[in-house]
């Protein structure tokens, strides 16, 4: 109650921000501008695909979303290692790992949905048991479990260590899943349906739009990561302050006995 407004959001070891506020604002505008540009190029600038027609335009957001998902999970893994490494242990890395994993799950989900939307007109099915699709689906559930683990209330140290280990166990599984699914879908089949979106022969406006998408989504990722981190840090500061207030109230209650009643056998 006596906390001054300046102290807000600066509790504990995790300082409120990942990036300075002006940088964050600039990133926000940059991601908005690049996304608008991407929409213009993706919907009108780039020519329709010779084979797939307009459906191919989904690739301008599908590929960047997939890239972002992998980037986000990579950041989670690196942040988890940095948390576990005693010299670099800091709540900052734990919060970055959690924030990035959340974005990763969001964009993995988006990748799967966008892929389905594209698959229906082009492949004729919403879902195919393609190696990459299957790996992505498993990845989605792997990190969904990690996020559930994060939501369990625990002290920052307990949560940090437990979640960092869980993130690394999950990360190690990704190549094994990929390998097994690859074998499974290629061992007995003549040809696997293959995403043709990254054909080396695409060029010109289409390739530019694709790279623009990757750039726009990457900026968006950094912006969202900063925002999500700030939220997580504020939440943590809030919890700490609530705890302190509760303790202070208890102490006040115990040290100041109510004057109406006589104290019985109070020990100093």
């Amino acid at each position: 109650m006596t906390t001054s407004p300046e102290v807000t959001g600066r509790g504990g070891s995790s300082q409120g921000r990942l990036l300075p506020a002006p940088v964050s604002v600039a990133l926000g505008w940059a991601s908005l501008a690049s996304l608008v540009l991407l929409a213009l190029f993706g919907l009108w600038g780039a020519p329709p695909d010779a084979v797939q027609g307009d459906a191919q335009r989904i690739m301008y957001v599908h590929v960047p979303a997939a890239w972002l998902a992998y980037l986000a999970f990579g950041v989670t893994a690196v942040a988890s290692i940095l948390y576990l490494w005693p010299r670099t242990r800091s709540t900052v890395w734990d919060l970055i790992a959690g924030s990035s994993a959340e974005l990763g799950v969001l964009f993995t989900g988006l990748t799967l949905v966008l892929g389905s939307l594209w698959g229906r007109p082009v492949w004729g099915v919403w879902w195919a048991w393609d190696a990459r699709l299957t790996t992505t689906a498993v990845l989605f559930f792997l990190y969904l479990g990690y996020l559930s683990l994060r939501r369990i209330p625990a002290s920052p140290e307990t949560r940090g260590k437990r979640c960092a280990i869980a993130a690394l166990i999950a990360f190690v599984d990704v190549p094994i899943v990929h390998l097994s699914v690859n074998w499974w879908r290629t061992l007995h089949q003549q040809a696997t349906v293959f995403n043709p979106q990254l054909n080396p022969e695409i060029h010109g406006v289409m390739a530019f739009t694709l790279w623009l998408g990757v750039l726009a989504f990457t900026i968006l990722y950094v912006y969202l990561l900063d925002k999500r981190y700030r939220l997580a840090a504020l939440e943590e500061g809030q919890e700490e302050r609530e705890l302190e207030t509760a303790i202070a109230e208890r102490v006040a209650d115990a040290t100041a006995p109510t004057p109406a009643e006589p104290t019985v056998g109070a020990t100093p």
């Binding site: 166990i169 999950a170 190690v172 390998l179 097994s180």
Partner: protein, 226 residues
């Protein structure tokens, strides 16, 4: 004490608890058999599908039973603060992990023998190529037990562990499910020749080695936190 004797101490303790409580025998095993019967309801036996897809169904049943076995392995540490006792015992954390994983693996292997008999009886399948099936089953079981024990301790002591464990564990076990099923299919001649099983057995062994190593390293810190 050596690592091996410490390991065996933990395994023997868990197996002794099982011998006295018979939870795996009386609850997990019948559960696995019911799952096999449920598959027969789902895929009408008259259509002749069951023997063809038997390896997959067998491993799904094993996977579900393994979830229960892992839960059980850590719920026995919950009562009477047994986990604190384990922590204070001075045993090496890596040995504890290996001991618990071995106890789970031995129980799962026994379970697989019975469920295998169930598959042979219920699904009208002729067993063959034991030289492929046995190594595949052993490698898969070690992987299941190692990953299961690792996630078991991760979720141990949490109020939501019953619901969290399957979500955490099943996606991780996807390669085991795939590898064991394909190896069994190849071994039984349902899909390719017996020789095609070996890459899968190697994958299962790789999985088991990786998760045993991870568990060996991570068990100590996780037990402290639980």
């Amino acid at each position: 004490m050596t690592l091996l004797s410490e390991l065996w101490l933990v395994t023997a303790k868990d197996l002794r608890i099982e011998a006295r409580s018979r939870v795996t025998l009386a609850q997990v095993l019948p559960f696995g058999l019911i799952v096999l019967i449920l598959f027969a309801f789902a895929l009408d036996p008259d259509r002749g599908l069951l023997p063809k897809v038997a390896p997959g169904l067998f491993w799904v049943a094993v996977l579900l039973a393994a979830l229960l076995a892992v839960s059980r392995a850590f719920s026995i540490e919950q009562a009477n603060s047994a986990r604190d006792g384990l922590r204070l015992s001075g045993l090496d954390a890596g040995a504890m992990f290996l001991g618990k994983a071995l106890a789970v693996a031995l129980q799962l292997l026994a379970l697989e023998v019975v469920l295998g008999l169930g598959v042979v009886l219920f699904y009208d399948l002729t067993p063959k190529a034991a030289e492929v099936l046995v190594p595949a089953a052993v490698a898969a079981t070690l992987g299941l037990a190692a990953a299961g024990t690792l996630y078991g301790v991760l979720a141990a002591g949490l109020r939501v562990r019953e619901t969290l464990l399957p979500l955490l564990l099943l996606p991780v076990l996807a390669p085991v499910m795939l590898g064991a099923t394909r190896a069994f299919e190849a071994g039984l001649g349902l899909n390719g020749s017996a020789g095609e099983a070996w890459p899968w057995v190697e994958l299962l062994a790789l999985f088991a080695v990786i998760y045993t190593t991870l568990g060996f390293l991570a068990f100590g810190p996780l037990l402290e936190e639980a």
